[in-house]
Amino acid sequence: MEQPDQAVVMIVDAEGEQVALLVDELLNQHQVVIKSLETNYRKVDGTAGATIMGDGHVALILDVGDLVHLWRRQEQRTDI
């Protein structure tokens, strides 16, 4: 992470608790159609698929609950 103090903090609700995510920039709010990553690739940890933006490029859809689980598992491992 380049400059953590320059990041935007995004607070989200994930499965009943609040989580803060550090991101570079908040862009916009969209309604999107979720496209599968698994059809041709595989399940990617922390994601719930992908979508195609207006200009045609692909954007990944984050699954915050999944991210929290991953983070928790990692924490448990390092605590041993």
Partner: protein, 168 residues
């Protein structure tokens, strides 16, 4: 007696798309090729292997792009207007592979194909079905589906990989 009629040749010959990777020319079953395109607008995926450049939007379908030059440590890895991506249909999926270049479609009769030597090619001989010769050119004929199914490609989860091994 040695003459082949054109219809016999049609039945016995198989067609291969030839592509280059590093210093060698490879051939793959043309029937697995969906299309050939340039390289652009790839969305990276976190924690993916280096050779998995990311995914693209192929007319509404999300397709992973594998850079074969990175995977097999070959050639110079540049991305410009000449970069070629072969979109293939294997394992019930659509996958893109970046290669150095694409040449002709070559028709080979069984007698033009020799067994592969145990060494020499950058790609594991397990994935080589033979060496084809056409117009003095040597082609390394590749089982692209088997290659993509290999565990180190990280496209398949382990249960699927085992099924493919049993079937082989």
């Amino acid at each position: 007696m040695e003459e082949m009629t054109s219809t016999m040749a049609e039945h016995n010959a198989r067609e291969y798309l030839t592509f280059t990777l590093g210093n060698e020319e490879y051939g793959m079953d043309i029937l697995k090729v969906q299309e050939i395109r340039g390289y652009d607008a790839v969305t990276g995926i976190a924690n993916a292997p280096l050779f998995l450049k990311g995914v693209i939007n192929l007319r509404g379908v999300i397709v992973p792009i594998i850079d074969m030059r990175i995977k097999f440590n070959l050639g110079s890895v540049v991305y410009d207007e000449f970069t070629v991506v072969i979109i293939i249909n294997v394992l019930g999926r659509v996958i893109g592979m970046v290669v150095d270049g694409v040449s002709d479609v070559v028709s080979l009769l069984p007698e033009q194909i020799r067994p592969a030597p145990e060494f020499g090619a950058a790609i594991d001989t397990r994935y080589i079905t033979g060496i084809g010769t056409s117009n003095g050119q040597m082609l390394i004929l590749t089982d692209i589906e088997k290659l993509m199914a290999a565990a180190d490609m990280q496209l398949m989860d382990s249960t699927a990989d085992n099924r493919l091994d049993l079937a082989a």
